[in-house]
C-alpha cells in the first residue's frame, strides 16, 4: 500500500546534519523508522506498536500483552531494545527506530542474528521471533561474547519453548559477528 500524507517516507539526512526545516504541513512528531523519516500527527500517547502496525503497516513487531511483559513487540530505539507497546510516540521525537523489517541490509543480506536463527532452525511458530531477534541484536551490541547468564537477562517469552535453540542461535550469531570483524 502506498504511503500517504503524514506518514510518507522522505530521504533521511546524513548523520550529523539537521533535518531540513521545510514548512511542516501539520505539527507532528518526526522520527526515523528503518532509515526513513516519518511524521506522526495523531495522538501523542499512541504506543509505538500501534503506530508501526496500523499506520506504517510494519507488522513485524507483534502484539502480545499491552504491558511490556512478553517482548513480542520488541524494537530498537536508538539501538536499545524496548517494548513498543509501552513506548509512547511523544517520547520518540527525533529518535531512530529499527524494527525486524530493517535488520537485513538494503540488498536483502540477512543480519547475522537472522541467519543464525535460520541455521539453528529456531523459529517454531515464529510469532515471538521478531521480538527475540531485536532483543538479541541489542544484547550483542553490548556484549560481544554473551555468557549464558547474559542471555538469561533476555526476558522475552517464547510460548513454543524454543529457548534452547534461541540460546544457541545467539551464540552462533556472536561467533559470526566476531569472525566478520577479525
Amino acid at each position: 500500500m502506498a504511503q500517504q500524507g503524514p506518514t510518507a517516507p522522505v530521504p533521511v539526512p546524513k548523520a550529523g546534519s539537521t533535518p531540513p526545516v521545510s514548512k511542516p504541513v501539520r505539527e507532528g512528531i518526526d522520527l526515523v523508522v528503518n532509515d526513513k523519516l516519518y511524521r506522526h500527527t495523531g495522538d501523542k500517547t499512541m504506543p509505538l506498536l500501534w503506530y508501526l502496525r496500523d499506520e506504517l503497516r510494519l507488522t513485524g513487531a507483534k502484539y502480545g500483552c499491552d504491558q511490556g511483559d512478553c517482548g513480542f513487540c520488541t524494537v530498537l530505539v536508538e539501538g536499545k531494545a524496548v517494548a513498543s507497546c509501552t513506548t509512547k510516540m511523544e517520547k520518540l521525537a527525533g529518535k531512530r527506530v529499527t524494527t525486524v523489517e530493517g535488520l537485513a541490509d538494503g540488498q536483502g543480506k540477512l543480519h547475522p542474528v537472522q541467519q543464525a536463527w535460520i541455521d539453528e532452525d529456531a523459529t517454531m511458530c515464529g510469532y515471538c521471533q521478531p521480538g527475540q531477534l531485536m532483543a538479541a541484536v541489542d544484547l550483542l551490541s553490548r556484549q560481544k561474547n554473551p555468557s549464558d547468564a547474559d542471555i538469561d537477562k533476555i526476558g522475552n517469552l517464547c510460548r513454543c519453548g524454543s529457548y534452547g535453540r534461541i540460546r544457541k542461535a545467539i551464540k552462533r550469531a556472536a561467533a559470526t559477528m566476531k569472525d566478520a570483524k577479525a
Partner: protein
C-alpha cells in the same frame, strides 16, 4: 487430459494438466467424487497451485500443505513426505499453505483436500496414509513420459533431485516432462510408494520452510492482515460465566477520536460451546487498534454474575474429594479388570495419594483474532488461524446461509495453537460483528477483531481442573496387585451434545497405563460442575492422568525402597503388547522400556541413589509414541534449579529429525513452565488472571539451557510429534524434586506448593 486412480475404498488420486505445461496431482475422497466431477474443476481452476502438488514447466515444484501450521512444523514435514516420494530437489520446492478446500456439490460442501486438521498430533499419520501416494503417482507419470521420450523401459528409469535418469546417463528435468505426463492414461492401480531404503529427505533434518519470512518480519499471521483498510474491533466481555451487562457508557466510547461504532454481542442460544461467542460483550469499532482500545476504556463496562455463580477453585477441589469419600456417589466406570476389593484385602500394604492439578490456559502467542470482509449479498472472505478450518466453515456457513462457493476461508500460519484454535468462538464473534448493523461510513469495510491478552486469559477454553485419587494394593512380592484411579474434572465434552454417561471420554482413557499391567484395575471418573469453558490442551487427555499415575508409581517405588527406574521396568515386564482402543495402539511394552532405559542412560541414572541432586524419571505412551523424561534438579534456597532435562522418544519413523527435536524440546519447556508456575483460578465468580504477571509463562532464565532429546531409530509408521513431550515432563520433574528436597508434590503449580511445604 485428466485421470483418477483408486487407492482405497473411499479415496482417489487425481491428476490433470495445469496451465503452462504443468502437472497437477491431488487426493480426493469418495464423498467428494461419488457424483460425476465436471472436468473443468480438474484443471488449474481447482486453485492456482493445484491441490498438493504442481510440477511447473520450469522445474519448480509447488506443494500445497493442507493442514494448518501453528508452529507444529507441518508446512515443512508434510511437504517433505510428498517431495521425497517424488525424488524432488528440495531447493526447487515451494511450499504453500492451502486455505480451506471447499466446493459446491448439490448444495453440500465438498472437501477438496480431505481432512484439514491440526490437533492431537494427527497430521503426519494422516499424511503418511495418502500424501505419499500423490508423490508416487506423479513420479510414475513422469517416468512413463520419460520412457516414451527416451525409448527405454520405465522400469529402468530412476529419479533423483528433480530429474529422471536413464541407464545410459541421459537426464531429463521433471519440468520438461510435466506436460507429457499430464496427458497420459491413468495407471490401473495406484503406483507403489518407495521402499524406505530409497528415502532421501525423510529422516534427514530440514529447517522450517517459513524461517526466512519469519526472521525478516514478512511472515503474515492473521493479526497482520488488513484486507485493505479494515476497521479494528476490540471487545469488553463479561468476566462472569453466564453473566450479563450491568452498565456501559456507549456514548462516551463513541466520542473517542477514531471510534466509529459500538456493537453489543450475545452468545447465540442453543449453539454448542466453541461455535458461538462464549460471553456477552461490547465491541468497539475504530479506525485503528489504539482508538479502539481507548474507546473500550471509555465504555467503563460493568458486569453482573449470572443466576448461578461459578464456584471458587478451592470449593471445586473440595467437592471432588467429598465425592471420592462418599460411597453413595456413582462415578462413570471407565475400566474394571479383576477385583480391586479382593486385592485390597489381600494386600501386604496399601497406598493412597490425591493429586490436584489446576485449570490452565492456552495463552497462544498470537491471541485469538479474525478478519472478515462480508458482502451480505454475495460473499464472505475470512482470515483466521484455526486448527480445524472445517469448523470455522460451519460457523460462517450457519451465520451467513451462504453456499460453499461464496465462502473463502484463508488459513495463514498461526502463532501457536495448543488446542485453543480448535474452538471457533472468535470466528463466530467476528462474524456477528460483521453482520451487525453499523454506521454507514464503515458498512463496506472489513472488520478485524483482536483479542487483548486480558480478554484471552479471562475467556479461554481452559484445560479442566483435575483431582486424581489413587489407591494401590501391594502384594507380598512388592508387586502392584490392585490399582484404583479416581478422577474428578469438569468434562470438556459437556455442552457439546455428548450424553452424560460419555462425558468421561475426553478426560480419562480406559487403556491408559498402567491398565493392562496390573491384574486388578479400576478407573472411575466423577463429573464436576463448572461454567468455565474448557477445551483440549496440548496432549489432553494424556496430561493430568499421566502426572498422577507417574508420580504415584514413584511413591510406590519409594515406599518399597526400590529404584523407580527398575520398578517401572519390572512393571512393564517382558516384551508384550497391550490392547489399546485408540489411535496408535497396541502398546508395545518393549518400546516403552527402551525409551526409559535410553533416558536413564543419558542422564546417568546410576547416580540416582547417591547424587546430592535429585533425579526423577517418568514415561508415557501417547497415541503411538513412547516417551520418557529424566530430569536432574538441585535444591536452592528459594526453590529449585533444573540442571538437566533429558527426553527419549520413539515416534516410529522420523520424518524431520530437526522438527521432531524442536517439538519435543518445546513441549517439554511448555510442560515445565506450566507445571512450575501456571494456574487459572476462580474467585468471586470470575477468572482472576489477566496478564503475564499473574499467569507467568517462564522466560529463558527459568528454563534449562537445553532439553537433550534422544530419538529412537525406528521403521514403524510415524506418529505425530507436537504433543508427545508434554505428559511425562511434569511427573519427572516432581519426582526429581522429591529426591532433591524430600518434599512430595501432589499439587500443581509446583513451585508454590514446594514453598508452602518446605
Amino acid at each position: 487430459m485428466s485421470g483418477q486412480v483408486q487407492i482405497s475404498r473411499r479415496r482417489f488420486l487425481q491428476f490433470a494438466a495445469g496451465a503452462a505445461g504443468a502437472l497437477i496431482v491431488g487426493v480426493g475422497s469418495a464423498s467428494a467424487f461419488d457424483r460425476p466431477v465436471p472436468l473443468g474443476l480438474l484443471g488449474d481452476a481447482w486453485s492456482q497451485l493445484g491441490p498438493y502438488l504442481r510440477i511447473a514447466a520450469d522445474g519448480r515444484i509447488y506443494i500445497g500443505v493442507r493442514d494448518p501450521d501453528n508452529g507444529e512444523g507441518t508446512a515443512t514435514s508434510l511437504a517433505r513426505i510428498i517431495a521425497d516420494e517424488l525424488d524432488a530437489d528440495w531447493s526447487q520446492v515451494v511450499v504453500e499453505q492451502l486455505g480451506l478446500g471447499i466446493e459446491e456439490g448439490n448444495g453440500e460442501p465438498r472437501w477438496i483436500y480431505g481432512r484439514q486438521h491440526s490437533g492431537d498430533a494427527s497430521s503426519i499419520p494422516a499424511a503418511w496414509a495418502d500424501l505419499r501416494q500423490a508423490g508416487a503417482l506423479a513420479r510414475w507419470l513422469l517416468f512413463q513420459a520419460a520412457a516414451r521420450r527416451l525409448g527405454v523401459p520405465a522400469e529402468q528409469i530412476r529419479g533423483a533431485k528433480g530429474a529422471v535418469l536413464a541407464p545410459d546417463g541421459r537426464r531429463l528435468p521433471y519440468g520438461d516432462l510435466a506436460a507429457a505426463a499430464a496427458a497420459l492414461q491413468a495407471p490401473s492401480e495406484a503406483p507403489p510408494v518407495k521402499s524406505a531404503d530409497r528415502y532421501t529427505l525423510i529422516g534427514q533434518p530440514a529447517g522450517d520452510v517459513n524461517a526466512h519470512d519469519i526472521v525478516t518480519g514478512r511472515q503474515k499471521y492473521a493479526i497482520d492482515e488488513m484486507l485493505g483498510d479494515a476497521v479494528v474491533a476490540v471487545l469488553s466481555r463479561c468476566p462472569f460465566p453466564g453473566g450479563t451487562l450491568d452498565s456501559a457508557d456507549r456514548d462516551a466510547a463513541k466520542k473517542v477520536d477514531g471510534v466509529y461504532d459500538v456493537i453489543d454481542i450475545q452468545p447465540e442460544q442453543g449453539q454448542q460451546s466453541g461455535y458461538t461467542p462464549q460471553a456477552v460483550g461490547i465491541a468497539v469499532l475504530a479506525r485503528d487498534t489504539w482508538a479502539a482500545l481507548q474507546g473500550r476504556v471509555a465504555l467503563k463496562a460493568t458486569w453482573k454474575a449470572g443466576a448461578s455463580a461459578e464456584p471458587n477453585t478451592g470449593a471445586l477441589e473440595q467437592h471432588a474429594v467429598a465425592m471420592f469419600d462418599d460411597e453413595s456417589v456413582q462415578p462413570s466406570i471407565v475400566r474394571n479388570d479383576g477385583d480391586i476389593a479382593t486385592a485390597r484385602k489381600k494386600a501386604a500394604r496399601a497406598l493412597e495419594a490425591t493429586y490436584f492439578q489446576p485449570w490452565v490456559a492456552h495463552a497462544t502467542a498470537e491471541p485469538p483474532n479474525c478478519i472478515v470482509r462480508l458482502d451480505p449479498d454475495t460473499s464472505v472472505t475470512l482470515i483466521a488461524a484455526t486448527q480445524a478450518p472445517r469448523q470455522a466453515y460451519a460457523v460462517v456457513q450457519r451465520l451467513t446461509g451462504f453456499k460453499p462457493d461464496q465462502i473463502d476461508i484463508r488459513v495463514p500460519r498461526g502463532g501457536g495453537g495448543f488446542g485453543r484454535r480448535l474452538q471457533h468462538d472468535y470466528v463466530a464473534e467476528a462474524m456477528l460483528i460483521a453482520l451487525a448493523k453499523k454506521s454507514t461510513d464503515i458498512r463496506t469495510r472489513a472488520i478485524k477483531v483482536i483479542w487483548t491478552r486480558d480478554e484471552d486469559l479471562a475467556h479461554d477454553f481452559y484445560r479442566p481442573l483435575a483431582v486424581h485419587r489413587l489407591n494401590a494394593s501391594i502384594d507380598a512380592k512388592k508387586k502392584i496387585a490392585g490399582w484404583h484411579q479416581r478422577m474428578a474434572s469438569p468434562s470438556i465434552q459437556k455442552g457439546r451434545g455428548v450424553a452424560d454417561n460419555r462425558l468421561w471420554q475426553s478426560e480419562l482413557m480406559p487403556d491408559a497405563l498402567p491398565a493392562g499391567l496390573v491384574p486388578n484395575f479400576r478407573s472411575d471418573w466423577y463429573s464436576l460442575d463448572s461454567q468455565l469453558p474448557r477445551g483440549e490442551w496440548r496432549g489432553s487427555p494424556h496430561v493430568t492422568p499421566t502426572f498422577a499415575t507417574e508420580c504415584f508409581i514413584d511413591e510406590i517405588a519409594h515406599s518399597l525402597k526400590a529404584n523407580p527406574l527398575d520398578y517401572r521396568l519390572a512393571m512393564l515386564g517382558d516384551a508384550h503388547q497391550l490392547p489399546y482402543n485408540g489411535r496408535g495402539g497396541p502398546i508395545d511394552t518393549a518400546r516403552l522400556a527402551n525409551v526409559l532405559r535410553m533416558a536413564a542412560e543419558k542422564i546417568d541414572w546410576t547416580r540416582w541413589l547417591r547424587s546430592e541432586n535429585g533425579l526423577g524419571i517418568a514415561c508415557a505412551y501417547v497415541w503411538g509414541a513412547y516417551v520418557a523424561h529424566a530430569i536432574e534438579v538441585a535444591p536452592t534456597a528459594d526453590g529449585i534449579d533444573i540442571q538437566r532435562v533429558v527426553c527419549a522418544v520413539d515416534v516410529g519413523r522420523v520424518v524431520n529429525p530437526s522438527g521432531l527435536e524442536a517439538q519435543i524440546a518445546g513441549a517439554t519447556m511448555d510442560a515445565l513452565s506450566t507445571a512450575m508456575n501456571l494456574a487459572i483460578t476462580v474467585k468471586d465468580g470470575q477468572v482472576q488472571q489477566r496478564g503475564f504477571r499473574d499467569y507467568p509463562l517462564s522466560a529463558t532464565a527459568q528454563m534449562p539451557n537445553e532439553v537433550e532429546v534422544a530419538i529412537v531409530s525406528s521403521t514403524a509408521d510415524p506418529t505425530g510429534a507436537s504433543v508427545m513431550g508434554v505428559p511425562s515432563t511434569a511427573p519427572a520433574l516432581a519426582n526429581a524434586v522429591f529426591r532433591a528436597t524430600a518434599v512430595r508434590i501432589r499439587r500443581l503449580p509446583l513451585l508454590r506448593e514446594l514453598a508452602r511445604l518446605r
